[in-house]
């Protein structure tokens, strides 16, 4: 990854993973979505067959989509073929670059098993990122996708991205109106007039 003019006017460079921010709704009913955007390592990657040199490939053993920087001629055709905009040309080395899923880390058997994960997964302080084998139905990621409603981006194209996103989880309890206001307060039945203003509450029991 290289940058150009990092501290000057019009800085630019190549990224593997950008975090974008979106806002849903209109103030005051808004929600903010932080949206990390990287290569999704599609199961049917459209960027691979279009490559004229074979530099763009999908690894057979673990399915990671990669670019062979020694074969790439920098024609940018693969970036046109990716609907997600995951590929960026490196202006200095003049080849196409993209997220490698830290293939050097995840295949490095000299690392302890717990550290054979992409750097972004290890770095995330809230463990918002998960890493695992989506072909193994019992892996942590397969369970998360299945049970927490993981979804792919732009599923219309049939690219079958391996990276899924999990919907925002919210803790909600269902409280009905008649649970807050005791509709069946026995005092009401006896038409006693001495209830405090503002209606009956659960505290009425103490009264």
């Amino acid at each position: 990854m290289t940058d150009q003019r990092p501290y000057d006017e019009d800085p630019t460079g190549t990224f593997f993973n950008r975090v974008q921010t979106y806002e849903a709704g209109v103030f005051p009913n808004t929600e903010t979505y932080h949206f990390p955007k990287s290569c999704l390592h599609c199961e049917d990657p459209p960027c691979v067959p279009v490559c004229p040199t074979g530099a763009s490939y999908k690894r057979v053993d673990n399915g990671v989509v990669l670019v062979d920087y020694d074969k790439c001629i920098g024609c940018k055709y693969c970036s046109w073929a990716c609907p997600y905009g995951a590929r960026e040309i490196d202006e200095k080395s003049r080849v196409m670059k993209k997220c490698t899923l830290c293939v050097d880390r995840i295949t490095d058997t000299s690392l302890p098993e717990s550290e054979r994960k992409p750097a972004c997964v290890l770095a995330c302080p809230t463990s918002a990122r998960l890493f695992g084998d989506i072909h193994d139905p019992n892996s942590n990621v397969s369970v998360a996708i299945r049970e927490e409603g993981g979804y792919p981006l732009q599923p219309e194209w049939g690219t079958k991205p391996a990276n899924h996103y999990l919907p925002r989880r919210k803790t909600r309890i269902q409280i009905h109106e008649d649970e807050l206001v005791r509709a069946d307060n026995p005092l009401k039945k006896e038409e006693l007039p001495s209830l405090p203003d503002g209606g009956e509450t659960l505290d009425d029991v103490a009264w």
Binding site: Y22, E23, V50, P52, G85, E156, W157
Partner: protein, 325 residues
């Protein structure tokens, strides 16, 4: 998409070069069938040379599109899956056949090698010409399919793209053949002019259809699908960087609608209207300069047409850069 001038010149120069070769061979076939008088070898030699120059110029233009042109030979390896690779394979074949076709005419190898049914004398130029014609059509197909095979870019993903590249390339090639025969003083201006008008008309129909088609459809994916949040009011607040990036440079043309509308009207005029009128006047006045002007104007028009072709394409990744889109 951002229109890259390297690719604009590559496709227009190749189109004119291939079209000129097709025009030469069409003339030879007509002469063979005694529908036209036999032409001197000079015309074929000059035509093949010009076609070669255009193809080489196109190849040189393509080099400017590559980050690592020194590795370009590798681009011939993935012809099984990549249309770009297929173009890289077919282009040198077409160039070689054009060269050999011109060489055979230069060497005067036009004696019949054998005769079919006592009526059709087959010589070396007829065989290489037939192979060259096949290669030229294949090259049109490969060049156009590079764009038409990208299913995410709806403006290109249509058979009309192939028709446009074929007809517009043939139009400029036959127009150039008319200009060449006017310049060399051969009596083929009317013949090539007529074919050029036919090809231009076919091109007008297919390009008009694709312009109409592209003005009608909507993109298959929207922002909701792109980030997976199904809320009717989504706004992007940050795109992940403050300056520009490859994503904001490569996929946006940055031109106003008014400018593009102007480009569209100019190219429609310069590709389809003016050359046909000029060829018509050239026919009436037997002018030498008008067919050359017709080709030059149409070629400039085709450069603008290809420029517009790139700006027409809306890439789905643009959904992630709403401030640019």
């Amino acid at each position: 998409m951002h229109p890259a001038f390297s690719v604009i010149f590559l496709t227009t120069l190749l189109g004119a070069g291939q079209g000129l070769f097709l025009a030469l061979y069409t003339g030879q076939l007509y002469a063979l069938a005694n529908l036209l008088p036999d032409q001197s070898n000079d015309f074929y030699i000059m035509g093949s040379f010009l076609s070669m120059v255009l193809l080489i110029a196109g190849l040189i233009a393509s080099v400017f599109h590559l980050g690592r042109p020194e590795r370009a030979w590798r681009a011939a390896t993935q012809w099984r899956t990549s249309w770009l690779s297929r173009e890289v394979v077919v282009l040198p074949v077409a160039m070689a056949l054009t060269f050999v076709y011109g060489l055979f005419h230069y060497l005067g190898w036009t004696q019949a090698l054998f005769t079919i049914s006592d009526t059709l004398p087959v010589d070396a130029t007829l065989v290489t010409g037939a192979l060259g014609t096949l290669a030229s059509f294949l090259l049109f197909l490969c060049t156009a399919m590079i764009y038409a095979s990208l299913r995410f870019i709806k403006a290109w993903h249509t058979p009309l793209t192939v028709a446009n590249f074929l007809f517009l390339g043939m139009a400029s090639g036959f127009m150039l053949a008319a200009a060449l025969s006017a310049y060399m003083g051969t009596n083929l201006v009317a013949f090539y002019g007529t074919w050029a008008v036919v090809a231009t008309t076919l091109g007008a129909i297919s390009r008009g259809s694709s312009l109409y088609r592209n003005s009608k459809f909507r993109c298959k994916v929207d922002m909701q699908s792109a980030i997976g949040v199904h809320h009717s009011q989504l706004h992007q607040k940050a795109q992940g960087f403050m300056g520009g990036s490859f994503n904001t440079r490569e996929f946006f043309h940055g031109k106003s609608d008014g400018f593009l509308l102007m480009v569209r009207y100019i190219f429609l005029l310069m590709v389809f209207v003016l050359p046909v009128l000029l060829i018509l006047f050239a026919y009436l006045s037997e002018s030498v300069r008008l067919p050359i002007a017709a080709f030059a104007i149409q070629y400039i028009g085709l450069v603008l047409e290809r420029y517009y072709f790139f700006t027409e394409a809306k890439h789905p990744q643009n959904l992630y850069y709403q401030s640019m889109a």
